[in-house]
């Protein structure tokens, strides 16, 4: 049943929310609003008797009370075809790159949750050639992993590098609150390396309306899901999820919902989870891996957004001073893959981290002015070399080379019996003089 009736009277406007009286309207239905401000889509977010509350994608600025509202009879859909690849769109799916509109196979967004019975155990490593990831916290296909960083850290560069270097059939980039030049940088980096041809971008820039920011993860993940169902391995990069959460906060407050923690709505956890849980390895189809950026306001990990995210995702990478911190960073799924890479992988990982922890202690002792023993001196020299040769984000080597480098760093600072590694492995891997 198509409701073709056009309404001409908006009763209330606030933020990006409009209320009007209408009949036969479906919950979550899409409407088109034509006003002095132009034409925009809107979504029904509340029905109360004949009062219909609409969330206007382009915002309510300039929308007049006599605006023309037409309900389209269906929920939000995003066209899907291979032609999406290489293209960039806004948060509501309008081309951003001057290319033609795509209208094939419109598919609903925000589909139901995957049946856990149709998931398979993640078991394939995604190689990124970043030693701090591959060696110490391996990324696994179908994992959902955020990068926690404070504003100013090079998280988007890291994301772009992973996009370029990780194996995947399709890359979906969802940008939320991006600065325009960051969007251009993403596009140019991918273009230069030829990866743009397998990439689709949904980008909300800081100048765009808030509501579009909220749509970005759903659109990106809906498209990713379609590709995955066709058997593709899809890598989804979302940046920055804190902007998404802030957009939700803004809408919730406008809707006069009771805030729970620092103004965020009470369902923040469920909202974030329903997006992150789209990461999946389908039993009998492709997969979705999600890497997201969560900026931490005030570098505070207990802020509601990183805090709720940490409970949802399968680990996190802490990006601090341009490096992926070995402490705090965690890939919950690494155990599933690092047993079958190279026999010394786990041992080198454990030994290097344990010694690095001791290095940190030695550093603390040094700063307190305690006497440095010969062992402390060794640790200091080790930690320094580890940070320079391994932790620096510019290091770009495959896992095997990273392992060899690890042995080299150990051997140049310690004697064989000081590193706590079983003799069997030492014989095989300890570098000759």
């Amino acid at each position: 049943m198509f409701n073709n009736k056009i309404y001409h009277k908006i009763d209330a406007l606030s933020g990006s929310i409009a209320t009007l009286r209408a009949e036969g309207v479906k919950y979550n239905e899409i409407a088109e609003i034509e006003s002095r401000a132009g034409t925009s889509l809107a979504q029904v977010i509340k029905l109360d008797g004949n009062n219909v509350t609409l969330q206007i994608f382009a915002g309510a600025r300039g929308v007049d009370t006599a605006a023309k509202v037409r309900f389209l009879g269906e929920t939000m859909k995003i066209p899907f075809s291979e032609a999406l690849l290489g293209r960039a769109f806004t948060g509501s799916g309008i081309p951003r790159d001057g290319g033609p509109e795509i209208s094939e196979d419109p598919s609903p967004i925000g589909q139901p949750s995957v049946n856990p019975a149709k998931r398979i155990m993640p078991k394939e490593m995604v190689r990124t050639n970043i030693p701090m990831i591959d060696l110490f916290n391996s990324l696994v296909k179908s994992q959902k992993l955020p990068i926690f960083a404070k504003a100013g850290e090079p998280y988007n560069d890291l994301l772009a590098r992973i996009a370029l270097q990780a194996d995947s059939d399709v890359i979906v980039i969802g940008g939320m609150g991006l600065k325009y030049d960051e969007y251009l940088k993403f596009r140019d980096t991918l273009d230069r390396s030829g990866a743009l041809a397998k990439t689709v971008m949904f980008v909300h820039t800081a100048a765009d309306p808030t509501v579009e920011c909220m749509l970005v993860p759903d659109i990106s993940l809906a498209v990713a899901e379609k590709f995955a169902l066709k058997g593709k391995d899809v890598l989804v990069l979302l940046t920055d999820m804190t902007s998404f959460a802030d957009a939700m906060k803004e809408i919730a407050i406008t809707m006069e919902q009771i805030p729970s923690n620092r103004g965020y709505p009470g369902d923040l956890y469920s909202q974030l989870a329903s997006r992150y849980e789209k990461a999946v390895d389908f039993d009998g189809a492709g997969s979705i891996t999600i890497l997201a950026v969560t900026t931490m306001p005030g570098d505070d990990v207990t802020h509601p957004v990183p805090d709720n995210t940490g409970y949802i995702t399968e680990g996190q990478f802490y990006l601090k001073n341009g490096r992926i911190e070995p402490f705090g960073s965690l890939s919950r799924l690494k155990q599933q893959v690092n047993k079958s890479t190279r026999e010394d992988h786990r041992t080198v990982m454990d030994a290097m981290i344990k010694l690095y922890a001791q290095f940190k202690e030695a550093l603390e002792k040094q700063s307190m002015g305690f006497r440095m023993s010969a062992w402390d001196q060794k640790l200091l020299s080790y930690g320094d070399e580890f940070e320079k040769a391994m932790m620096d984000l510019s290091v770009n080597i495959p896992l095997e080379e990273a392992l060899d480098l690890g042995w080299k760093i150990l051997a140049s600072n310690f004697a064989k019996d000081e590193v706590g590694i079983p003799s069997k492995l030492l014989e095989k891997f300890w570098p000759a003089e």
């Binding site: 036969g24 309207v25 479906k26 919950y27 979550n28 239905e29 509340k46 029905l47 109360d48 008797g49 004949n50 929920t75 589909q111 139901p112 949750s113 995957v114 049946n115 856990p116 019975a117 149709k118 998931r119 398979i120 155990m121 993640p122 179908s142 169902l229 919902q257 009771i258 805030p259 729970s260 923690n261 709505p265 009470g266 369902d267 956890y269 469920s270 989870a273 329903s274 849980e277 789209k278 999946v280 389908f282 039993d283 990990v301 207990t302 802020h303 509601p304 805090d307 940490g310 949802i312 399968e314 680990g315 996190q316 402490f327 705090g328 965690l330 919950r332 155990q335 307190m368 305690f370």
Partner: protein, 589 residues
């Protein structure tokens, strides 16, 4: 005659429905959306309009759409066929849901399609029925009529699965007839009972019970005095859980709550484990799903899955059924307790359940309490944990439900409403600390903050002595950070090293190691005796380096000893060697 209504408002997963006729609080109704029927529960009634939380997405519902009420509260199906199942929060079997969705299309089969609800128990499967009641017996709700074999409950090493008079029956009935031994489905009549008003009632194996109402067909509640063996040393020795008791595991993310729950589910000495994955990661449930069928339960020699039921309402599944999932789990537990079994319910995580209540309360525009949680948060949490307990049944046998719930406090700070409300009502607190998990000291149960009101497998005063050393050692450790090793006396340094030793060899336990993952009580007792000796010894060393070297050696020797099998000669020799090593290093009296 069913009551019907019409939708007057939709917001999120909440609908308001104007009804004619009578409805009950918590009654279930279905919103009709074309071919689909979306299940919903009444959460508030105001004159002729009721607010209902919908257990599915509400997209496309319209004002004016019809709602049909069922006259029933949200119920669980109880009977043979529950074990090994993987359900969602409303007791829909997940594998069958996928099959049902596959009828729409292959792509659809991957998702939880809305509006599909399936019976919790298989209808076509036949069970071999053995009546044990006699014609003429006087019976009441919960009394046993007979049994069937189901998996490990084969009436040989384990009792059979008992078929009982439905819990909802009121008053006394006389057994008038019983079906002959043979194969029956859960919906076949297996007995005829005569009520005191001489009304004839047919009884089937399948019975239904409203999940939010506790089952109370027992004669008395007993004190939880016996220790539940989890085979996790920190828990059994220092912070024990009682059979029929309650405990909680609060901890920040990444501290190992879920691994601890999984290890407990694997190793705990109970008859049945019901695992409620409430609003957590789907990936972790998949691990359990794929792993458990492969693990052998040492008690029965059969697959661990055969004693397990999983209620899986992960974080992206509808929030209203997340709220229902913990009740479904505990209702199934009550059904098995009524058969005289010991059941362990593991809820991961109760914070997600509390958040589901918060979302619901927000939609109802109730006046919020602390951090916007509803004012009734505490009483709901208390009522949930009160469904645990050890009870004497009317036939004299004893059954129990033990509940362990994880809590995921915001920011890892225990000073928040859910943790605080939980701490008031549980008997054990296993607080996980970020500092311990960062230092890779697992299980990360904080030995200084945690507590338990239950009996340990070791005598209380011995445990207290060990804890005193831990406490003192930690204080000295703090002090040493300021004054350095140089400024610490040898005596204090010894206490510090002893505390570290106790932590390294006893408190820390590797859940991923074959031999260390599970330490049965007898083995714990032997290990503790050796540890105790090492803690009490007055060592004869005169320098810190010598002392440190000795403790490190002792630690290494202890760890090597720990991978020997308990009944082996090596194990008893190893114990003697350790004792001798400690004695040799001690001052002579």
């Amino acid at each position: 005659m069913t009551t019907t209504g019409k939708i007057v408002a939709v917001s999120g997963n909440m609908i308001s429905v104007a009804f004619d006729g009578a409805v009950a609080q918590n009654e279930v109704g279905y919103a009709i959306l074309g071919e689909k029927r979306l299940m919903a529960e009444i959460v508030r009634v105001r004159s002729s309009v009721c607010d209902m939380q919908v257990f599915d997405a509400t997209s496309e519902l319209m004002v004016g759409d019809k709602v049909e009420f069922s006259g029933e509260m949200l119920v669980a199906e109880l009977g043979p066929g529950l074990l090994t199942q993987v359900y969602d929060g409303l007791q829909n079997p997940l594998a069958e849901l996928a099959e049902e969705a596959a009828k729409i299309s292959k792509d659809a089969s991957f998702f939880l399609q809305r509006g599909i609800y399936l019976p919790g128990l298989p209808r076509d499967k036949k069970w071999d029925w053995h009546p044990t009641a006699k014609v003429g017996d006087k019976v009441t709700a919960g009394d046993i009529l007979g049994w069937v074999t189901e998996g490990i409950f084969d009436n040989k090493s384990m009792p059979g699965h008992k078929i009982m008079v439905p819990f909802s029956f009121r008053g006394t009935y006389t057994v008038q007839g019983l079906a002959a031994e043979g194969e029956y489905t859960v919906t076949d009549d297996i007995a005829t009972l005569l009520s005191s008003e001489s009304k004839e009632v047919k009884v089937q194996m399948l019975q239904r019970w409203p999940v939010k109402v506790p089952v109370s067909c027992f004669s008395e509640r007993l004190a939880p005095t016996e220790t539940l063996e989890t085979t996790i040393r920190t828990i059994d020795t220092f912070f024990p859980v009682a059979v029929g008791g309650t405990y909680c595991i609060p901890g920040p993310f990444g501290a190992g709550k879920t691994v601890l729950q999984q290890t407990t589910a694997k190793n705990a000495k109970v008859d049945i484990v019901i695992s409620a994955a409430c609003g957590e990661r789907a990936g972790e449930v998949v691990e359990t799903l794929k792993e458990f069928p492969e693990i052998t339960d040492p008690r029965t020699g059969q697959s661990l899955m055969k004693r397990t039921i999983i209620i899986c309402n992960t974080s992206s599944m509808p929030v209203a059924s997340r709220e229902a999932s913990v009740y479904t789990a505990v209702t199934l537990a009550e059904y098995f307790r009524q058969q005289g079994l010991n059941v362990l319910v593991l809820a991961d995580s109760t914070s997600r359940w509390a958040q589901a209540m918060r979302e619901l309360s927000g939609r109802l525009e109730e006046i919020p309490g602390e951090e916007a949680f509803p004012a009734y948060l505490e009483s709901r949490i208390a009522a949930f944990y009160e469904r645990a307990g050890r009870v004497r049944l009317r036939n004299g046998s004893i059954g129990s439900i033990t509940i362990g719930g994880t809590v995921s406090p915001a920011g890892g700070n225990f000073d928040e409403p859910v943790t605080q409300a939980t701490l008031k009502v549980v008997g054990g607190f296993h607080g996980l600390s970020r500092a311990r998990s960062d230092a890779r000291r697992y299980p990360a149960i904080d030995p200084l903050d945690s507590w338990s009101k239950y009996n340990s497998v070791i005598e209380q005063e011995r445990v207290e002595k060990a804890r005193a050393i831990l406490r003192k050692g930690s204080e000295i450790g703090q002090m040493m950070k300021v004054v350095g090793e140089e400024g610490t006396s040898l005596e204090d340094f010894a206490v510090y090293l002893k505390a570290e030793f106790l932590d390294a060899v006893y408190l820390q336990q590797n859940a991923f190691s074959d031999f260390d993952a599970s330490t049965p009580v007898e083995r714990q007792k032997t290990m503790f005796t050796v540890v105790e000796r090492a803690l009490e010894a007055d060592y004869a060393f005169t320098t810190k380096d010598e002392l440190r070297k000795f403790i490190m050696e002792l630690q290494q020797a202890f760890i090597d000893w720990n991978d020997k099998s308990f009944d082996s000669e090596e194990f008893s020799l190893g114990r003697d060697a350790l004792m001798a090593k400690i004695a040799n290093a001690s001052k002579e009296d």
